[in-house]
């Protein structure tokens, strides 16, 4: 949890006292990975949303407090699942794909 991510996309205009933001960076070989797809699955494993990563490997969701799973798809890699417990505010998550 922190207010601003390292080199993160600006949260200007986002009310982080109300929103439950889950965001982070997808990495491969120690470098940010653009063009990966990150899916947000709810506590039952059901799809909730999906975003492609930015040129700097970043993704962001607006969820609700609770337990979520991030599933990351990238060219030439197996999907990677990462569990996240989110609260109101910003939760930062780094994802590493093979």
């Amino acid at each position: 949890m922190c207010g601003a991510t390292t080199g993160g996309v600006s949260l200007e205009g986002v009310d982080v006292t109300k929103e439950t933001v889950i965001q982070g960076v997808v990495h491969r070989d120690d470098a940010p990975l653009a063009g990966a797809y990150v899916r947000l699955l709810d506590a039952t494993g059901e799809f909730t949303a999906e975003v492609p990563t930015s040129a700097t490997g970043q993704f962001r969701f607006f969820a609700a407090p609770g337990t979520w799973t991030l599933r990351t798809l990238a060219p030439g890699a197996q999907p990677v699942d990462r569990a996240v417990v989110a609260e109101v505010g910003v939760t930062d998550v780094d994802v590493y794909v093979g």
Partner: protein, 282 residues
Amino acid sequence: MSRESSLVSADWVEQNLDNPKVVLVEVDEDTAAYDKNHIRGAVKVNWSTDLRDPVRRDFVNKEQFEALLGGLGISDDDTVVLYGGNNNWFAAYAYWYFKVYGHEDVRLLDGGRKIWELESRQLVDAVPSREATTYTAKNPDSSIRAFRDEVVAAIGAQNLVDVRSPDEYAGRLLAPAHLPQEVSQVPGHIPTAANVPWSKAANDDGTFRSDDELRALYGEAGVDFGKDTIAYCRIGERSSHTWFVLREILGIQNVKNYDGSWTEYGSLVGVPVAIGDEPGTA
């Protein structure tokens, strides 16, 4: 309609990149995605400026649609292949829209932009120049578009399919989770609507599931194919994806898309709303 007449594969698209009668059209929620790169030869449709009336909340009219397609160099007898991000949400919306205006041969690229990227197929930034045409649209086909009064009348009587995520259906989220949650509608769903998230109709790579899996999916959710069906979501693009599955892949008639969807219904005064994971009663 069938899978064969409504979908094409990425391989088929590659084999037809230089086919003059095939026009690729990219439609994305992120309207800047095309400008970054796209499939060679593809033209862009911007859903927010090209497909919306500039003043009212409605479609562009027939003449505006004709001007749009003519300007893109699309002829009435061209095969239009739509694709885009978000697992083809907005491409499916455009597909439905092209069908409302009667374009004969429209297809979706199965898997959309995602499968193209995940398979590392070629993307370019060069924008093609196509000679303008004189396009003639048909009058809008109201048999595939639902308006609010028929949605209210369908409660407890016809199939209502809410294709949003379970958390949006129950009222725990107000918008898809890649968007901020501050919106003006009340949370919840239309009473008696079944919740069949659009995502259950797609594989992780964005391609559609098999016909048998799709038929089972809606059947098990209580959708009675003997009745009329109205699909809705938040703004009508995810429900276009489900409309496409039901009518174009499975060939089920009497399926409409409610493009007013939750942003309209959740703002109406005096209509019933259900909260929670159960459909609720009429």
